[in-house]
Symmetry: C2
Subunit: 205 residues, 2 copies
């Protein structure tokens, strides 16, 4: 595949998803570190690339821009001819449904609560209480699913694992007790090993 | 395509998306009205079908279950061989990125605030204030996009229009002032006409 640019931030799970997918697929890229906290997604230059003002984005060699982490992951996997996108229509739809669940239910609670605690430095009382409830519901669903299988798609690493691990491994920063979810914890370690990345605790240490 | 079952609710934009997509594609289905407010997605029978306890779900003739509104829309469109899924990889990724944006940014603010006001009957003071900000940011982005073109994908109705119109047309119930977004209002009418559905006001009257 052509060389791409990834605008992203190392503190953003959504951006790391795209980085890990590119690394796994052997795609070459330039990483343009973009600091949300300094407003670097709100500059005129950035908004000209992507009016939504969110990272990650990918810029292709011809200048065209792709947005939304999971849409980019799907694009990179399909363009690479990788078997990360199942050829069976039902299996493919199931895989994609995990990506939507991640963005709609999991990220919108776990990633948001982590951001409000760690970066916006809000106290628990100032954070919408439904974020804790929904985040724990997400982790419970994952726990039940992973009690029966090693990866979301079954026996091997897939895009849902990459998408879901990004913020799940950081969930402690959002005030979620990962120790209550042993199958999830074991899966995090498994996915980190499969991706060849250090465990989040080590990375932060 | 085979006859499918759609478990959904007529008050849920996520469910209507799937219904409208099936109707547009000429897919035959049985609609199983499922009342979230009465806990019908939390029964043992429903959770056996779908542990996430959310609607819509689609049950295929062989009993297999598909979840997540946008993943179902993509599956139905691809299985029907419809041109709602572009063959060009970049166009397809762009189309899918709107679906993810809808689920992550738009639905998580506009649909959630509408639910909390209309169904949970919370007062504005008891609703996370970021929902109003993010919802209006969603509508502004749509307004700018639709000022230049009739549909999200350009000149003809696509899956992003179906996905986005579902909760946008109900945004008034969430306390958003659609009158501030004239291009969005014109687009809602255009999409409703293209789908052959009555305008939301009429439907509610």
């Amino acid at each position: 595949m052509e060389r791409i640019k990834i605008y992203g931030s190392a503190i953003s799970g959504n951006c790391l998803k795209v980085k890990w997918t590119a690394d796994l697929l052997g795609i070459t890229y330039d990483w343009i570190e973009t600091d949300i906290l300094k407003g670097e997604t709100r500059t005129e230059t950035f908004l000209a690339l992507s009016p939504a003002g969110q990272i990650p984005i990918v810029v292709l060699e011809d200048g065209r821009v792709l947005e939304q982490s999971c849409a980019i992951m799907l694009y990179l996997a399909e363009q690479s001819g990788s078997n990360l996108v199942p050829s069976d229509p039902f299996e493919k739809a199931t895989m994609i449904s995990w990506l939507f669940w991640e963005q709609n239910f999991h990220e919108s609670s776990i990633a948001v609560r982590r951001f409000r605690k760690r970066f916006a430095r809000l106290s628990d009382d100032d954070i919408d209480p439904t974020l804790l409830t929904r985040g724990n519901a997400s982790l419970s669903l994952m726990e039940n699913h992973l009690a029966a299988q090693d990866y979301f798609g079954g026996t091997r690493l897939g895009l849902p694992d990459i998408a879901l691990v990004a913020y799940t491994r950081m969930a402690g920063e959002g005030g979620y007790a990962l120790a209550d979810y042993p199958a999830v914890q074991a899966w995090i370690a498994r996915v980190e090993a499969a991706l060849g990345i250090p465990s989040y605790t080590e990375e932060q240490a």
